[in-house]
């Protein structure tokens, strides 16, 4: 088992933004960021679920301006590092510069797992700004390990300090996670870290994270109460407890972290983190976890089954960011239904 120091990144205030339907208050951000920092979490990510400038009709309008969320977190984080997410194509270098000005020290630059070459400018700028950079290969289940390794090397060549296997759909099986993390570890230089970001749609997030660590991943994502897209992320407090039992040090105070989860996060959750049939369909069909709430809303508006929408989105090989396809598919399914009824 790898003995290098593990670095936990908590994404409650970023991936959790999807589950909160972008309705976090500035006060909630401040309270939870302080709690995570006091519990010793080294990286605390705060951004719209779809990254900087993600507030949009397409992905959901944030309740408060980005600046207020990020500055509130920057004010209370004393020990850890304020982290932000950026998806090239949505956010630009302009927003990255702003976020650095507001106090962000780490950025994860995320692309679909075969499109790493759109991240060159953003990774380059982040390094110039003195930030640490994690490259995020989203929807890693859609590409074979060799392809992921090639893409990770691109991000490394742009200056990334770490490259992540990102299981955005919560679709990776344990062996698939192992092969992918191993491919990155083999391909990247020793000075570049490998990371893993899981989702729990198949109830494999902790197991996948453990094999990722076994294969050399050291930057590890989790979310308190699992608050995140789809069935949520690897629950940070559960992961820290398991790692402690395995004598793997994270530097995180387990009980304090449990308190953050129980007292600060659980009471404000809009939905319990659970694997219902829609979430399970996401993991099973390999669809972007963020599509969940959008698919549920479209299902209601156009009177179709959310699972049919999700399966069709999987069949069309949609990628992260294509939330507009959900309405497109729902309209088509609804027209098909109407047509079928008419000829009955």
């Amino acid at each position: 088992m790898n003995t290098k120091a593990l670095r936990v990144c908590d994404v409650t205030l970023r991936d959790g933004d999807h589950a909160m339907e972008h309705q976090f208050t500035v006060e909630q951000i401040r309270t939870i960021a302080r709690g995570l920092d006091e519990a010793g979490v080294p990286l605390i990510e705060v951004t719209h679920g779809d990254g900087l400038a993600g507030s949009s009709i397409q992905y959901g309008i944030s309740r408060e301006p980005e600046e207020e969320y990020i500055e509130a977190a920057a004010e209370v984080i004393r020990h850890g590092k304020l982290t932000v997410l950026l998806l090239p194509g949505i956010g630009t270098q302009k927003e990255l510069k702003q976020a650095a000005g507001w106090g962000a020290k780490v950025v994860r630059v995320a692309t679909h797992c075969t499109e790493a070459d759109i991240s060159e400018q953003h990774i380059g700028l982040a390094k110039k700004l003195g930030m640490e950079v994690g490259g995020f290969l989203m929807m890693s289940h859609m590409a074979p390990p060799s392809k992921l390794a090639e893409q990770a090397k691109l991000m490394e060549s742009y200056g990334a300090d770490c490259v992540y296997i990102v299981d955005s759909a919560g679709a990776l099986l344990v062996t698939e996670t192992r092969e992918r993390v191993r491919a990155l570890r083999d391909a990247l230089s020793d000075s570049t870290a490998v990371g893993f970001h899981g989702h729990n749609n198949l109830c494999l997030s902790v197991a996948n994270t453990l094999v990722a660590i076994e294969e050399g991943a050291t930057w590890i994502d989790g979310s308190t109460c699992g608050l995140g897209a789809g069935s949520g992320n690897t629950p940070t407090e559960v992961l820290v407890a398991v790692l402690k039992k395995m004598n793997l040090e994270t530097g995180v105070d387990l009980f304090r972290l449990m308190d953050v989860a129980e007292e600060m996060v659980r009471p404000i959750m809009l939905h319990p983190t659970t694997i219902d049939r829609a979430c399970l369909t996401i993991g099973y069909a390999g669809v972007y976890s963020t599509f969940l709430r959008h698919a549920e809303r479209a299902a209601e508006k156009f009177h179709v089954d959310a699972r049919d929408i999700l399966v069709e989105l999987g069949r069309r090989k949609t990628v992260g960011g294509q939330e507009d396809m959900i309405v497109d598919v729902a309209v088509e399914l609804s027209e098909r239904q109407t047509h079928a009824k008419a000829i009955q």
């Binding site: 009709i57 397409q58 302009k94 679909h112 075969t114 069309r316 507009d324 396809m325």
Partner: protein
């Protein structure tokens, strides 16, 4: 019917696709193609179709400046900044397909008539060409307070220029929604999808309007889609506009299939650029030929020593 002679700088995919579209035009006459790579497929094609070519760049092309009046630039933003100056001095009208944006952004169905007095115009982005007309159309029915567009293109149709400068797409397209489309604020998002077989270009247009007059908006949007379809045959509304009364929101789903000239059909994003460029050149040509109120452009053309081809 008389035609205006044109030249193309850039012998890549875009330049080569332009040849086919210019050949179909009743107002434009293809003359020269200029590149920098002697063995490029584009130059070979141009030669085989009987056009003159040079692989020695714009300086060589301008030795033959008397042969053409309008120049399409399908190179790079950096190159166009240099070309723009040379073309201006030579008195040529430049249709810029790069992101350089030396001249104003133009979209044929929306604002070209306002810019026929310019010597350099820019085609904005593929997403801009696809979505700005729809925002402008909605804006005719009811003021668009906020416009947001999402363009999804196949990974295969996104060249290295787009990939390395992806911010240019989002920023330029967003500016166009406001400057050309008339929206109060604008936002643009681009998504690359690597699926095989490659997906067609799709665009989603969201608009928050002052007053949700569904009938008027639908009428304007359908009329505009028909107008764009005249020069981009594969441009279509995927469904009737979708309305959300509570948010005063209009959603329009668009698909753009390429004509399959030189570029494959999935590359609707490139096709809409070359189609729009040719349409813009035709508007200039019409003016130069004196079919419209073309006095000013004609005199400019004579100042440049070319006169009007008759």
């Amino acid at each position: 019917m008389n035609k205006i002679p044109v030249a193309i700088i850039g012998s890549g995919n875009i330049g080569t696709d332009l040849i086919n579209k210019i050949r179909r035009s009743s107002l434009l006459e293809m003359t020269w193609m200029c590149g920098v790579i002697p063995e490029s497929d584009g130059l070979a094609r141009a030669r085989s179709l009987g056009y003159k070519t040079t692989h020695q760049g714009i300086e060589d092309l301008l030795q033959h400046a008397g042969d053409f009046q309008i120049v399409f630039d399908a190179t790079t933003a950096k190159a166009h900044v240099l070309h723009a100056e040379l073309l201006r001095k030579a008195g040529k009208i430049a249709i810029d397909l790069t992101p350089a944006a030396v001249g104003p952004y133009v979209v044929p169905t929306v604002n070209i008539q306002q810019h026929l007095d310019k010597m350099n115009v820019n085609l904005t982005t593929c997403g801009g060409q696809a979505t700005t007309p729809i925002i402008a159309a909605i804006n005719r029915a009811s003021h668009v307070e906020y416009a947001e567009i999402v363009s999804t293109i196949s990974s295969k149709s996104a060249g290295p220029g787009t990939r390395q400068n992806i911010d240019e797409f989002t920023q330029t397209t967003a500016e166009g929604l406001v400057q050309i489309g008339g929206a109060g604020r604008g936002k643009a998002i681009i998504v690359l999808n690597p699926a095989e077989p490659p997906i067609l270009m799709r665009n989603t247009v969201y608009a928050i309007v002052q007053e949700l007059d569904e009938e008027a908006i639908t009428r304007q949007v359908e009329a505009m889609a028909a107008a764009v379809k005249q020069y981009v045959p594969g441009y279509k509304l995927k469904a009737k506009p979708i309305y959300d009364r509570r948010d005063r929101k209009v959603t329009v789903l668009l698909e753009v299939e390429g004509a399959g000239d030189y570029l494959p059909k999935y590359a609707g994003n490139l096709d809409i650029m070359t189609s729009a460029a040719v349409r813009v050149a035709e508007e200039f040509a019409r003016k130069l030929l004196g079919n419209g109120a073309g006095q000013e452009a004609q005199s400019k053309a004579s100042v440049s020593g070319q006169g009007v081809s008759r």
